[in-house]
Every structure is written in C-alpha cells, then in structure tokens.
C-alpha cells in the first residue's frame, strides 16, 4: 500500500517556488485619500491590475498609525482587481489586525524585488505605474491593457513586431520586451512597451516605453510626430508642436540625468 502512493496518492505536496509579485508602496492608509489618488491614477480602468497579487509595503508611511482600516483598504485595492496577499514593513502593534484581515505578515528580508536592475520610479500609491498622465480610454478592439508587475521579471520577452499600420483607437502592448512597428502609427493610437520602441514610419500617436520603470528604454522613430512620448513614466506632450529639429525626421527619445531627476531628451537621429 505504501508502494502505491505515487504522485496521485499525494494529496498535497510542498515545494519552494518564487513568484514575481508587485509591491504597492502605501504611503497613506486613509481609504478615502487613497481612493482619490487611485482614481486620479487609474480612473478609467477599474480592471487595471487584472487580478495581480501584490505585497503592501508600509515602510514609507508618513506617520505611524494607531490602527489601520484593513477592510476599507483591501476592498479599495480589490476594486482595481489588485489582490493583496501580504504586508511588510508593518509596525509590530498592527500585526494582529493584518493577520485578522487575512494578510500574511512578511519579514523584511528575502525580497528579490529590490535587487533588480532598475528601481521602479516613485509613485504615490502603487509602484510602478505605466504613466502618470490620465488613463487612456480603453478601445473596444484594443489588445489587452498592460498589467503591472514588479520589476523582478527580466525583460527577455521576445520583441513584438507589428507589420501593419496601427490605426486610431488601436493599442499594442509589448509585455516585457521591445516593440517594433514596421508601418508606423496614426494619431489616436497607443503603443506601450516594457522595453524600447522602434518605429519605422510615422510615429503619430502615444508612445510609452519602459512602462515598468526601465529608465534605459528609448523610443526611436524615422518620422517623428507623436502626441505623447513617455519613458518610465516621464512624459511629454506636444501642445505647441513638435520641435523643428526633429519634426517629421528621424529622432530618438531617452532619459538623461540621475535617479529622481530624469529629463526627457529628444534628439535627431544621425544617418550617414
């Protein structure tokens, strides 16, 4: 009988596994103020996180609260389809409440997320978010909206190549990697990549590179004329027109400067 207990016989089995999980740096525990901040950030996209698990990090709280309204906080985050599974950097007197709310109280060691190449850019509530500008309206025929995850997943996803022109209202997201457009994009379309964006042909819509916080991502275009460019959340619109030096020409967009003081630089591309 003991022989017969093969794999099927084991009703439960335990193995170590590592999971890429997002960290939400919560800097204020008041559900009302948080709700406002989240609404500003993700207003149009209630399903933004698409069931992503998250660890709440309370290490950056402005003040040490006496108690936390866990029910309010969790239901708020779940409204955006975020699944809080645990909490860390929590003051000790709040452990009991967190456990009662069903959250795992995690030690402050053993997290790999901090060791990734690019630190996520600071964001008011949950980090990292794709871009700080108002949420883009989801298009009915768009590809799935981007999901954020902690920067622990390496950016080795295959390059996404789009052969046809991207039309107004269409959206493409290259998760974890670069995006190459071979026929350009029209105004009113949107491209998002966790890596860099290469656009052969007109770049006329919104282009967001480094959507998960990769500050080394760049945007290249042979015919520059976007509505908005963003790298790792640092964005620029062109209300007063595209700069003469790059309008309709080859150009690249990149971030310069050091941590917390990034500037978006747009330069003409030099061909020989």
């Amino acid at each position: 009988m003991a022989e017969a207990s093969s794999l099927q016989g084991k009703l439960i089995e335990f193995k170590g596994a590592s999971l890429a999980v997002m960290t939400a740096y919560v800097r204020d525990t008041d559900p009302v103020r948080l709700a406002d901040a989240l609404h500003m950030m993700l207003g149009g996209m209630p399903d933004f996180f698409a069931g992503e698990p998250a660890i709440l990090d309370l290490g950056q709280l402005a003040a040490d609260p006496d108690r936390i309204d866990w029910t309010g906080l969790l239901s708020l985050l779940r409204r955006y389809q975020l699944q809080p599974v645990g909490v860390r950097h929590l003051p000790e007197h709040l452990y009991e409440g967190a456990r009662r709310a069903g959250l795992a109280v995690l030690g402050n060691e053993g997290f790999s997320a901090e060791r990734t190449v690019t630190p996520p850019p600071p964001a008011p509530v949950a980090a990292p978010a794709p871009a700080p500008e108002p949420a883009p309206a989801p298009a009915p025929d768009a590809e799935p909206a981007p999901q954020t995850a902690a920067g622990s997943e390496p950016a080795h996803a295959p390059t996404l190549v789009v052969d046809r022109p991207l039309r107004s209202g269409q959206q493409v997201y290259a998760k974890g990697g670069d995006l190459v457009l071979l026929a350009g994009m029209s105004p009113g379309s949107e491209i998002i990549a966790d890596g860099s964006i290469h656009c052969y042909g007109p770049l006329r819509g919104r282009a967001l590179a480094g959507a998960r916080g990769d500050t080394s991502a760049r945007i290249f275009s042979t015919n520059f004329g976007p509505e908005l460019v963003s790298i790792a959340g640092v964005y620029r619109t062109f209300d007063r027109g595209i700069p003469q030096a790059v309008a309709g020409r080859g150009a690249q967009v990149r971030l310069t400067g050091s941590d917390n003081l990034h500037t978006l630089e747009i330069n003409p591309l030099q061909y020989d």
């Binding site: 025929d141 046809r164 022109p165 991207l166 039309r167 107004s168 209202g169 269409q170 026929a183 350009g184 029209s186 105004p187 009113g188 379309s189 042909g201």
Partner: protein, 271 residues
C-alpha cells in the same frame, strides 16, 4: 464569386451613400450584375438617392428574419439593367442585424449570380457599420479633406483590420481604397483644406480617386438619380474614373488641380 465591397467612413455626411449609389451604378453600367445594400437600418437613405423609395415593400431586415425572400425584396434599378437595391428598414433598429443573417443574404446573392455586392455602411463604428464591413473583400474608405474625417477613417481602417472576417480568419487582408470626396482644389490652394496628398499621407492606403465638391451632388440626390448618371458633370466623370480604376484600368487623376479662372471666364461668368 461575388465580390463584397463596403463603402465606409466612420464619419457621417462625407458621401458614403452618394458613392455607394454611383459606384454600384458604374459597375452595373459596365455589365456586372450588382446589388447595393443599405446597412443604415433605421435611417434609410439609399432608396432616396437611387430614386426607388416608392417601390420599397420588403427590406434587409425582412430578409434577415426570413419574412421575405431576396427575390421579393430586391428592387430593380430604373437606370441600369444589372443593378438591384436592397433597402434598409426604416422602422427597425440596428440590433435586428445578425451576423448569420447578413452572411446568409450575401451567400444567397452569390447563388443568384451577382458579381458585386456594394454595402453602404452607416456612419459610426457600431453594430450597423461593423456588420457592413464584416464580410467585405474590398473597402472604399470615403474621406473628406479635413482632419476629423481623416481621423474617423483611420479608426474604421483599424476596425476593418480587426473585425472583418478576412482578418479574423487570417486570410488575405481586405483590399483598401481611399476615396477623397467634396474636394475643392481652390480651397486646397488657399490652404483651407487638406490636399489629397496630405490625406493619403495620413492614411497610407492607395488612392482610388478624388470627387470634386459640386452642387451637382445635391441636385442628383434631390432627383433620385445617382451622380454618375449626370450629363456634363465633373462629379459624374470623376466617379466613372473611380469605377474604371476599381476594375484595374489606369486613369490619370482629374479635377484636383486649381486653375485660375481666365479673363473671358471672369467677364462672362460660367461654372
């Protein structure tokens, strides 16, 4: 094989129905057995433009619902031997259109030996417009030379890429043609209007023609005669060129250059 052509634009009032009427008439004049279907359920117009509004008994929805057969619903055009009109319903709404129903109508038209089926799309990007383009083999995208029309056309091209049967089944993509309508070379010259080159540059699909802005179009609509039948009209000539190009003929683009009126013309007037 019946070839399904959708005439679409996204934006309203750009000349879809005028174009559907003229192109279907042009194809029929060339000897092709052609049907033109009005997909604008609830706001039917095509029958007026074709001048057959008093002969409407059954409509597209009746056929889709099996309340009438195609032979009963198709109206024979009064100008062309080979042209038949399937009007939209004035009393129903767009939800009455089902994909299976539309597919069956198109299949039946094919069995009846039609060479071309022209689908006149309603404005917008909702059900009626999507139904009109779902089964298309070719698309004529009607665009006015102004930015909002170009933007809407771009949107419709995106929908064509994602929602047409050809796209969903991964077959060869729908063949796209750009038709610039209500084109005024003078206003382009004055910098008030996008040039057809600008429009083409923005949409990046092949140009099949430019139809000049003209009072003749309104006159033709009021008479219930498709503009292509008008005598001595630039609009009619331009639509004939479009049909010729659609059938693979090579025709130079006309009515796009602005000529300053000469002295005689200024003195004695004229068109």
């Amino acid at each position: 094989m019946a070839r399904v052509i959708v005439v679409t634009s996204g934006k309203g009032g750009v000349g879809k129905t005028t174009t559907s009427a003229s192109i279907s008439s042009g194809l029929a004049l060339r000897g092709y057995k052609t049907a033109v279907i009005d997909f604008d359920v609830g706001l039917r117009n095509l029958d007026l433009i074709m001048g057959c509004e008093r002969r409407v008994v059954y409509d597209l929805i009746n056929v889709v619902n099996g309340e009438a057969n195609l032979h009963q619903a198709l109206i024979k055009d009064k100008h062309c031997e080979n042209l038949f009109i399937l009007p939209a319903s004035q009393t129903r709404d767009k939800d009455a259109l089902t994909e299976e129903g539309v597919e069956k109508v198109l299949k039946d038209l094919e069995h009846m030996g039609f060479d071309y089926v022209v689908c006149d799309s309603p404005a917008g990007i909702e059900r009626g417009a999507v139904m009109a383009l779902t089964f298309a083999d070719e698309a004529i995208v009607v665009t006015n030379p102004e930015v909002s029309s170009v933007r809407d056309s771009d949107r419709i091209l995106g929908i064509l890429q994602s929602k047409s049967r050809r796209a969903i089944e991964g077959r060869e993509a729908v063949k796209e043609h750009l038709l610039v309508t209500r084109y005024s070379p003078k206003r382009v010259e004055d910098g008030e209007m996008l040039s057809y080159k600008d429009v083409q540059e923005l949409l990046r699909i092949p140009l099949i023609g430019a139809i000049p802005e003209s009072d003749d179009v309104l006159q033709a609509s009021n008479q219930g005669t498709p503009a292509i039948h008008l005598k001595d009209s630039d609009v009619a000539t331009a639509y004939q060129d479009v049909v010729a190009r659609f059938l693979g003929e090579d025709r130079p683009l006309r009515f796009v250059a602005y000529e300053k009126p000469g002295l005689l013309k200024r003195l004695f007037g004229g068109k």
